[in-house]
Symmetry: C2
Subunit: 238 residues, 2 copies
Amino acid sequence: MEYTVLVRMNEKLFLRDPESSELGRRIVRQGILLMADIGFEEMTFRKLADRINTKEASIYRYFENKHRLLVYVVAWYWQWLEYQLIFQTNNLPDPREKLERVLKLLLLKDVSSFSSQPVADELDIVALHGIVIREASKAYLTRHITEDNRQQLFKPYKDLCSRIAGIILEYRPDYPFARSRASSIIETAHYQAFFMQNLPSLTDFGSKPNETPSPENDERLLRFLQHLLFSSLETDTF
Amino acid sequence: MEYTVLVRMNEKLFLRDPESSELGRRIVRQGILLMADIGFEEMTFRKLADRINTKEASIYRYFENKHRLLVYVVAWYWQWLEYQLIFQTNNLPDPREKLERVLKLLLLKDVSSFSSQPVADELDIVALHGIVIREASKAYLTRHITEDNRQQLFKPYKDLCSRIAGIILEYRPDYPFARSRASSIIETAHYQAFFMQNLPSLTDFGSKPNETPSPENDERLLRFLQHLLFSSLETDTF
DNA sequence: ATCTCTTGATAGTAATACTATCAGTTATGC
DNA sequence: GCATAACTGATAGTATTACTATCAAGAGAT
């Protein structure tokens, strides 16, 4: 599975293309692991540099600052997810099944080839998924969103939403809120996954805080999302 | 309207109770305005101190750090909202109407007495609502959530969710996802409001980025939320 | 052999996020 | 009315963060 072929990133996201060098790839891959480990606010370029035996200044040659690194890895994730979606729904004739694939993808279910250990040069999708759940909103919940948006930094997210909105309209051509429905199901999937693990009393899944994610809980979350999505698409009360 | 009577805050949220002194109240009230103005990450206690003609060190006597100030004002908002909810649904016999009040409250609709200028010692609810939309998730999307949670810092949010979940069960006693439904409708309301203003292509409301919030868009967002909530509560497919 | 590109290494700056100290002022108990 | 405690202002200082600048060494291309 060739990521670099698969994902061609917007040049505004970096100063120097991290996929163009060994050091750049290490910055991204180890950056993901570090961020997944200690969290976005605790991460510094200093710590990352130490981790990969380079210097702060070298990392700054690739990314303006750590916020841009976050935006980059999150954008990468959305592009990867859209690719997976295209790939997995390619031969499905039934839009309902496509939507079910969407939901499973959002929870990273049945993405067998990536779920365990990443090999060689691949980046760790499971860790990245965790980052997206916990940190992605920090990529756009910011004062300079307008400027970032002008630079198309959020295009991958928008593209994914559009694609999902398109499937929604296949399923229900007269649905009047396709885009909002798409963006809200994505956010709901992530929020509920976060709450399930960290503030489980806000959900009907999970039991104790910081319990390791169990397949049964994931299954129940999936059913909740299916219920939410399909009930809204099947009603006639707008 | 006496806020201090209305809202009694968890003591873990502060070092010294900000409602107990003039300076404390100024820290909270002006802190809200400053944060609404320049955003959480750009805000510093230095800037806030300058704004209210005091010193950094004095602010640190009330709040451990700016994250705690954020957690405090957000918690205050949830408590205020729960109070409003209790007050406004007090005499409503119909659970459906209660749920409609919930949705309006989440968008701060018809909260007439606070909507324009805050008087005297009151804090600015409209500004605070903006903070909750843009910054609230930063209060819990953090590494130390487990510790914060142990200190009950999120209790107001949980209480509000419980209350909404309770109304959901009044409306539909056999609904199996009341808590998740409650937390997800809150988050969806805020996310969509944010997207509507900042990334409108992710929604079916709004038109141009950074357009001033229009009543029509708010109205359409409200209808979307009604549609989402009631379609999920009226279906039989779980 | 030279030129370019990249990294390593070191240094340095401005701002941030605090902590400590102490003096003056105000509120409180008695 | 007086002693004491509580609070704020003012100043100073530290460690860390978030960068920027410079230069030399090595690797690869021409």
